[in-house]
């Protein structure tokens, strides 16, 4: 069964604006094999996968399927050829039944044009059997299923369409350990049946376990291709990061004798996080690593006064913060740069200037709230230069900037006044490598000047590169702290996955 080529990509490139998301990517998938694509966040994995699934079109390059060159102009083309994709966050219609979800948009019709429920039910039962789900599941609401089972339903949908290539996008990131095991068993079974799998993940242990071939992406380029017997964790990590992870940029700071500026005691909020305790000293960078949805952003928003806690307390300079609010946080110098630029950061209809000054308008005005427009202009000009935001005119719309420069605007929004505690939530998500380095340098410089930094990121190499300590989150709880001298990717990852190492 194996050895026969199913699918090849030749010289695929894709740019967004000025950013090269993919450069000259080549890959080959054999029938009945698992090819894993590994890379950090932002390495180009998602873009590549979307091109294969028809959700994006490449700028250049050729795609061959079963020996014939094919054009995949939209998702339907991909489905017709035999390519299915299951995205990281399952796209489901929670209010519809599992049966309806399986056939959405492609209902089986009788010859009179009405929906043929019995036939659909029969086909659906077959499909569910492939993923080992009981038939009675068909009548349940999709939203009532666990995330893992929702994912299985989506895989069943792909299999029912006779897919020859199944793309799984970080499938285990939302699964429990047991659910993951079930998925791996299914993958093995599918291989037996000649289905090829493109497996996207950054979890090295599971990749080593299930893959026949591996390619490593970094900054949109394939840096290394391994077959199962050549690959080792160290080789993959080196290929992913391209350098020793704990390299270069980190600088030791002497903050150890300081008293903590902020101390969090047994903070809880129902359904979000439980019993969170930690402290940060001035000049310290505390990294927070955990999967999306592990409660890390919610803790940050509580520190910023934007979410109310159920129990526990926050001490600032040794005094409990009572009646905490964003206003209170900002007065104390606790600032928060949120994780999603588009929905939580940008004022997209407005200029770079308006975006930069938004949080500190009161400091640019007199006591009656009248703005001093000259002051504003000067402060903004200074910031644009200091943080090298690449723009000719600060009156231009913020959305005319590249993602990296937008992020610099949003970061420097909070650097107009000097922060005491700076909370950065995914500060470099989706931005180019150059700007990323600049932001890393900036974070270190801020810490050197005595700012306490809470750095939240799903980019593990980033957290490891900058943090003095890493606090790991799993399902709303702290699962451990790792000091710089003991940091290993594996160790931190295990804690974040809730596995005690």
């Amino acid at each position: 069964m194996t050895g026969e080529v199913l699918f090849t990509l030749n010289g695929v490139s894709k740019s967004f604006g000025g950013i090269k998301a993919l450069q000259n990517v080549n890959m080959k998938v054999n029938k009945g094999e698992v090819l894993s694509i590994i890379g950090e966040n932002g390495a180009g994995k998602s873009t590549l996968m979307k091109i294969i699934a028809g959700a994006l079109q490449s700028d250049t390059g050729k795609i061959e399927f079963e020996g014939n060159e094919v054009k995949i102009n939209n998702t339907q083309d991909a489905i017709d050829i035999g390519i299915s994709i299951v995205y990281q966050e399952p796209n489901v219609f929670a209010e519809l039944s599992v049966l309806e979800n399986l056939f959405i948009g492609e209902e089986v019709k009788t010859k009179f044009g009405s929906i043929d429920w019995p036939e659909m039910y029969r086909q659906a039962a077959e499909a569910l059997e492939l993923v080992d789900l009981p038939t009675y599941t068909l009548n349940e609401m999709m939203g009532d299923l666990s995330i893992g089972n929702q994912q299985l339903v989506l895989i069943a949908r792909g299999l029912h369409r006779q897919s020859k290539l199944l793309i799984l996008d970080e499938p285990t990131s939302i699964l429990s350990q047991a659910e993951s095991e079930k998925l791996f068993a299914l993958i093995a079974e599918l291989k037996e049946n000649g289905v090829s799998i493109l497996y996207i993940s950054h979890r090295i242990p599971e990749i080593l376990r299930i893959s026949d071939q591996m390619i490593v992406l970094r900054d949109g380029k394939v840096t290394e291709t391994f077959s199962a017997n050549e690959a080792t964790e160290n080789r993959i990590i080196t290929a992913m990061s391209g350098r020793e992870i704990n390299s270069d940029i980190y600088r030791l700071r002497d903050y150890y004798d300081e008293k903590p500026i902020i101390k969090v005691n047994n903070l809880s909020k129902s359904k979000m996080f439980h019993d969170i305790s930690f402290s940060i000293k001035p000049g310290e960078i505390l990294g927070v690593y955990g999967l999306v949805g592990s409660g890390r952003s919610e803790v940050a928003r509580t520190l910023f006064g934007e979410l109310a806690m159920d129990s526990g307390n926050i001490e600032f300079e040794g005094k409990k913060l009572t009646k905490h609010s964003t206003n209170n946080a900002v007065r104390k110098g606790i600032y928060y740069v949120p994780e999603d630029r588009g929905t939580q950061g940008n004022f997209s209809l407005h200029s770079i200037k308006y975006n930069l000054s938004a949080a500190f308008l009161p400091t640019m005005s007199n006591k009656f709230g009248v703005l001093n427009l000259n002051d504003e202009k000067k402060i903004i000009q200074k910031n644009v230069e200091k943080y090298s935001i690449k723009t000719k005119n600060m009156e231009d719309l913020i959305i005319s900037l590249s993602g990296g420069n937008q992020q610099k605007v949003l970061l420097s929004r909070w650097l107009i006044n000097t922060p005491r505690v700076l909370i950065l939530d995914e500060p470099t998500r989706g931005i180019d490598i150059g700007t990323k380095t600049e932001i890393h340098e900036l974070i270190l410089t801020l810490a050197e000047s005595g700012v306490a930094v809470l750095l939240i990121s799903s980019d593990l190499p980033e957290v490891m590169r900058l943090s003095d300590r890493i606090m790991t989150f799993h399902k709303g709880r702290i699962t451990g702290f790792t000091n710089r001298e003991n940091m290993t990717e594996d160790g931190v990852l295990r804690k974040a996955l809730g596995l005690i190492s």
Partner: protein, 323 residues
Amino acid sequence: MGGFIQKVLMSRTYFLTLLLVMIIIIMSILSPYFLTVQNLLEITQFGAVIALLAIGQSLVIASGNGGIDLSVGSMVSLSGVLMGLAFNAGISIWIASIIAILVGVLLGAFNGFATSVIGLPPFIATLGTMYMYGSLALVLTKGTPISGFPESFGFLGQGTILGIPTQVLLIVIPVFLIISFIVYRTVFGRQIYLVGTNDTAAKFANIKVKRTRFLLFTLSGLLSGIGSVIMSSWLMTARADVGSGLELQAITIAVLGGMHIFGGKGQLGGVMLAVLVVTMLSPGLQIANINAIWQLAILGIILIGAVALNQYSSNRLSLKAIK
């Protein structure tokens, strides 16, 4: 030429100025009396109340989240009626005027409370208060107009100073200048546009989103209260139905003036030009002997045209930004 047309379409100020000039030219061809300084100045008195309402409406719209105030007409009616009742109860007409304005503030604050604090959708909440305030005005007066205001009170709505209608010179122009100053030169003004563009981002930038919206609904009530005083002085009666239909005119003017219906964008200068366009249009149409029924149709056409234009220019803008 293509460049000029595009510039006119992109710039609301150019577009409205051009429209205004066209209306004046057409009207003066149709009627020799139209284009006299005296007539033009007199026409502005028709626009005084609606100008105040349109300013309030525009800022509510600018603050986003589907912000709209359907109750402005009813607030004018109810404030006016309470003013009349206060006067009938023996209170001086000037004190009664202040009462009317305070009533406007309270009614507006209630709208603000319902939308911004409780979180009801503004369209629904102010539709509800539109009926509530309007009915209350009718109930209180049993539908009978209140009149008998002292002659001196007419000075505000009927008098002129240097040929300019008093309400325009002493109220509309100062109100416009003060609110423009607030909008363009103060922290609060800037925050209106930021909140209107992205309220989540505003929250994360330590801007008080609810308070901002609450204050704008209250301002809309304040301006409606002032409008009711002008209206009563102009008509020398207080009637329960005096404000009906004004809310739709105010929305039309706000949108024609360039306020983005989803919030965050649009300038008060454009809104004032739009007030002039609409005010010139209706007496103009009367002079030209066009049936009153058609006047409403024309207002409808203008409204749809204005929204289409907004869409066009914002599409152009985002294309330009992506470039």
